[in-house]
């Protein structure tokens, strides 16, 4: 017997009698002998719960996380504060042990949560519609590119080099295999090079993808980009940090057609890269090109308000090879965490978080650039991340910070040749003045 298996020997015998076979093994007689595994799996015997916990906790103990280190690392994944209620509500097993809400009568909980999530994403981005979430920010961006291709029937996607390097890598993979072109636009002093962009956009341009705040933390000036792209009948895709939208102009005010982003910072733990959620929202015009699940409001036979998966004719289980995407799942539980986060922070709280990010990051920037060995690389408005160049070796800086219990900035030399010796620091609302002062002191001491 095993805790996850209820069958007694008597149960098994009774069931075998019903089926009219001698043994459980007989149920596998149809598998050709040549392909059967005629040995035990080379896996250790099962562990008891006690042994398992011990073993896995040892692995956890081998890591140093943001509880052990003071985190000034961002670059697309952020150490924001996560209120306690989120874990409690997200671990309710009525949510977590359900599957895709195929039977709406039994899934109003999940469906309403997603409907509220969709609403909140629309409120932040200003867009008309949102789906139920996608895998992560990078794949959401790739899906947006496919939407643009499907909607314009054009084959080239233009993406600024100030978009997250990993997003561009994922985009490259998706576009290459689909047979679409990708053109990268250079940056000029940290933001998208407008003249290069203007040269590149033409009648084959399905979409232009701009991230703001961009990978360097800078706010992009969208107005010229928007008019140029739309002037050429391409679509404008914006990738955004949802926290920043409590303060910054919404993508819809800039005229974006599709808005995507990484939703991790909305109440989801860092978890070494996943699971996160990607959000995607768009104009009403593009609604039927959206990938993935979408929840809509309707009523039941008693005219009671109810929620249901809708616009399903776009999806793979109906449309098969002509579906808008192959995606089957969404990141429902992560979207739930995002929804609870946005509810808990609310209208005022999210703004407060965003304000603290601006104030604290600017405080840090001011004090770091005052150090003799550090200077700000860009002179443009930023939200919570900024780039400094050091005359000391950037790797040495991060190694020494780590020795002092500080997780330093992202080393831009890893992805941008132009920015060797440059570090991208991130300061969220979680960092205290004394932690920032500590960082500054340590930086000063590193030679």
């Amino acid at each position: 017997m095993h805790p996850y298996s209820p069958h007694t020997e008597q149960d098994i015998q009774e069931m075998l009698r019903t089926i009219e076979v001698q043994s459980v093994g007989d149920l596998f007689d149809d598998i050709p002998k040549q392909v059967r595994l005629n040995r035990d799996l080379n896996i250790d015997n099962g562990l008891s719960e006690l042994e398992l916990k011990k073993k896995v906790k040892q692995l956890a103990a081998m890591n140093l996380g943001t509880e052990d280190l003071t985190c000034f690392l961002g670059a697309g994944v952020y150490d924001h504060y996560i209120p306690s209620v989120i874990k409690h509500l997200a671990s309710r097993s009525e949510f977590s042990t359900a599957y895709t809400p195929y039977q709406p009568e039994l899934s109003q909980g999940t469906l309403q949560v997603i409907y509220e999530y969709q609403t909140m994403i629309c409120q932040l981005t200003g867009m008309d519609v949102s789906n139920a979430s996608l895998y992560d920010g990078a794949t959401a961006c790739a899906e947006a590119a496919f939407m643009a291709h499907a909607s314009t029937r054009r084959k080239t996607i233009i993406v600024s080099k100030t978009v997250h390097p990993m997003t561009r890598k994922v985009l490259k993979t998706y576009l290459t295999y689909k047979g679409l072109n990708m053109i990268e636009i250079d940056e000029y002093q940290g933001t998208t090079d407008l003249s290069h962009l203007k040269q590149a956009v033409n009648k084959d341009t399905a979409a232009v993808i701009i991230q703001s705040p961009n990978f360097f933390g800078l706010i992009e000036d969208m107005s010229d980009i928007e008019s140029w792209v739309h002037g050429h009948k391409g679509l404008l895709i914006m990738s955004v940090d949802p926290i920043s939208l409590a303060l910054l102009k919404s993508p819809s005010e800039y005229g974006a057609d599709i808005v995507v982003g990484e939703g991790q910072s909305l109440g989801n733990t860092l978890s070494y890269g996943g699971p996160y959620l990607g959000f995607i929202s768009c104009t009403k015009k593009l609604m039927r090109k959206l990938p993935g699940r979408v929840v809509g409001e309707t009523s039941d036979i008693e005219n009671k308000r109810a929620f249901v998966l809708t616009l399903q004719a776009r999806e793979q289980h109906i449309r098969r090879e002509k579906a808008t995407s192959n995606i089957t799942s969404n990141q429902a539980l992560n979207a739930l965490m995002a929804a609870v986060y946005l509810t808990t922070m609310g209208r005022q709280g999210l703004k407060k978080v965003a304000q603290l990010c601006v104030q604290k990051s600017h405080y840090a920037a001011k004090h770091i650039q005052a150090l003799p060995d550090y200077q700000m690389v860009f002179d443009k408005p930023f939200f919570k991340e900024f780039v400094v160049k050091t005359t000391v070796d950037s790797r040495t800086v991060n190694d020494k910070l780590l020795n002092k219990g500080i997780l330093g900035g992202y080393d831009l030399g890893d992805t941008y040749d132009r920015y060797e010796q440059c570090l991208l620091f991130c300061v969220t609302e979680k960092r205290t003045r004394s932690e920032i002062d500590h960082l500054v002191r340590e930086l000063e001491g590193i030679k």
Binding site: H2, Y4, D11, M15, V24, I31, P32, R36, D40, L41, I43, G46, L52, V56, L59, A60, M62, N63, P83, V85, L89, S91, R92, S96, Y99, P104, L106, S107, E116, Q118, M120, S133, T167, V170, T176, K249, T269, Y272, G274, P275, G296, D300, E302, T310, N326, T328, Q331, N334, V340, T343, T344, G349, L350, K351, K352, Q355, Y363, E429, T432, R433
Partner: protein, 482 residues
């Protein structure tokens, strides 16, 4: 409780709050001093303003309108709704895992990398594949990555012209959708009367433009593709590759392995076979396993081990590239890893009992519902509803009535090749008593179909909402509040 019918926005009242943040302890500079006004939004995003108890009660009440594996029997075919062990949740929520930033130096995340590396090894043993990558987020992304690998391999051999993927008509819709996303044309192969691949038809379809065949084994009818050896030969002889949709791996653990069947690529669904919770539709995790010949095309980064030290390697010129940010759904991997360690060699028993349960139910139900193919099934089986009947009771009616009896209905109207399908997958973690209760309910419903059809047509009766107007939802889409 069931009458709770409020949106969080309707509870909102200006100035109420449920957040708690420290006061600003640095310069209290005005935002518009550092960010020009033209970049700032004029109107707030109208997020809810509620108290903390409002938040907790709202979502708790919503959870009460949901049905999960913890609530009751959930025999959703092809989804493997087995028990989700609680210890796995505890382990995945350890600070030593949840607080790791994915861009930290690898020296600080050795435990995480070791866990992933060991999970890869375990999955390699379970699938019989040479190498596993954990990067894909879910089964459908595993499929997409797998198809990209096929293309990369063929391009490297100068056979990039192969543009056709053969997919059985019984396959999941994701298969053809993934093929399109990978830039392939999908061609459907019809199943034979036994519900399996027709080798003669396959032979006729294979040509110099065929890139490969996607196969689910056991297939979506729950039937083992007995001709797998012949299928493997046909595909490989024609220069194609064989892709295994591992959605139904729960029938095979320790019994037969995709690698031994001759598959070149397999994806797994950790949220199906390896017990991680489905989360109301995600997150999942869809690792892929490949043969030695395909290893160099796997997505980057790859986890490498050098003398007990683990690292991430991005330098593989043949790789298809990245398919998602970072390294996959790590939080899900921890749970699957814990599950495999808990089960150990008992994994085989899991598959055996999953198959035992399915066959038992099939035997008990076949005289009450139409069983289109009466062969020994694997972990699931498909009934074709009640057939022609006096009161026109449909599979949908049967499913909705099951809800009244306290069960989550099976998958319905899939696979498409069986008319009015009810696809039942009990899983191994359900007891005989549970199965008997469900069987009894289905039998009663088949009788009610004759004696009390109205009960079925109007079902469900006791749920928070009754049958919905789906036409209205699609005709006048209302996808957000206000």
């Amino acid at each position: 409780m069931n009458d709770y019918n409020q949106l969080i926005f309707e509870l909102s009242k200006p100035t109420r709050m449920s957040y708690s943040l420290p006061e600003n302890d640095v310069d209290d500079s005005a935002i518009d001093e550092v960010i020009a006004e033209k970049y700032l939004r004029k109107e707030d995003a109208l997020l809810p303003e509620v108290s903390e108890l409002d938040v907790v009660r709202h979502y708790t009440l919503l959870s009460n309108k949901n049905y999960g594996v913890d609530t009751g029997f959930y025999p959703l075919g092809s989804c493997t709704m087995k028990y989700n062990p609680k210890v796995n949740e505890d382990l995945a929520s350890l600070d030593g895992f949840t607080t790791l930033h994915p861009l930290q130096p690898t020296s600080t995340v050795q435990g995480a990398l070791k866990l992933m590396y060991e999970l890869q090894n375990l999955l390699e043993e379970i699938t019989g594949m040479y190498k596993v990558s954990l990067q894909p987020s879910a089964g459908s992304q595993g499929e997409l990555a797998g198809l990209m690998l096929i293309k990369a391999w063929q391009q490297a051999r100068g056979e990039g012209h192969r543009n056709k993927i053969i997919i059985p008509d019984s396959a999941h819709g994701t298969n053809p959708a993934s093929a399109s996303m990978a830039g392939y044309k999908s061609v459907e192969i019809k199943s034979n009367d036994n519900g399996t691949i027709d080798c003669e038809a396959l032979k006729a379809m294979m040509d110099e433009n065929t890139a490969g065949l996607m196969l689910t084994n056991p297939n979506t009818l729950g039937l083992f593709e007995k001709d797998i050896i012949e299928i493997e030969r046909l595909v490989h002889d024609a220069g194609g590759l064989l892709y295994c949709d591992g959605a139904n791996m729960n029938a095979n653990l320790g019994i037969t392995r995709p690698g031994d069947m001759g598959f070149d690529i397999v994806h797994l669904n950790l949220h199906k076979t390896f017990s991680t919770p489905h989360g109301g539709g995600g997150p999942g995790s869809g690792p892929i396993g490949v043969t030695k010949a395909l290893e160099k095309f796997l997505p980057v980064p790859r986890i490498v081990e050098i003398e007990g030290h683990y690292d991430l390697n991005y330098d593989e010129e043949n790789s298809i590239g990245m398919v998602k940010s970072f390294y996959g759904n790590f939080g899900v991997m921890i749970k699957a890893y814990a599950y495999i360690l808990t089960m150990g060699k008992n994994l085989k028993k899991a598959s055996q009992y999953a198959v035992l349960n399915a066959n038992y139910m099939k035997e008990k139900l076949k005289n009450h519902y139409i069983l289109p193919i009466d062969n020994c099934c694997k972990h699931e089986f498909v009934l074709a509803g009640l057939g022609e009947n006096e009161h026109h009771i449909t599979t949908l009616d049967v499913a909705k009535r099951l809800i009244d009896y306290g069960y989550h209905p099976p998958t319905i109207y899939f696979p498409l090749i069986i008319d009015s399908a009810l696809m039942i997958e009990p899983t191994e973690t359900e007891s005989k008593e549970t199965l008997d209760g469900f069987i009894e309910a289905l039998i009663k419903i088949s009788e009610e179909a004759k004696t009390n059809p109205v009960q079925l047509k109007t079902a469900p009766h006791h749920t928070p909402v009754r049958r919905l107007d789906e036409v209205k939802a699609a005709r006048e889409p209302k996808l957000r509040w206000k």
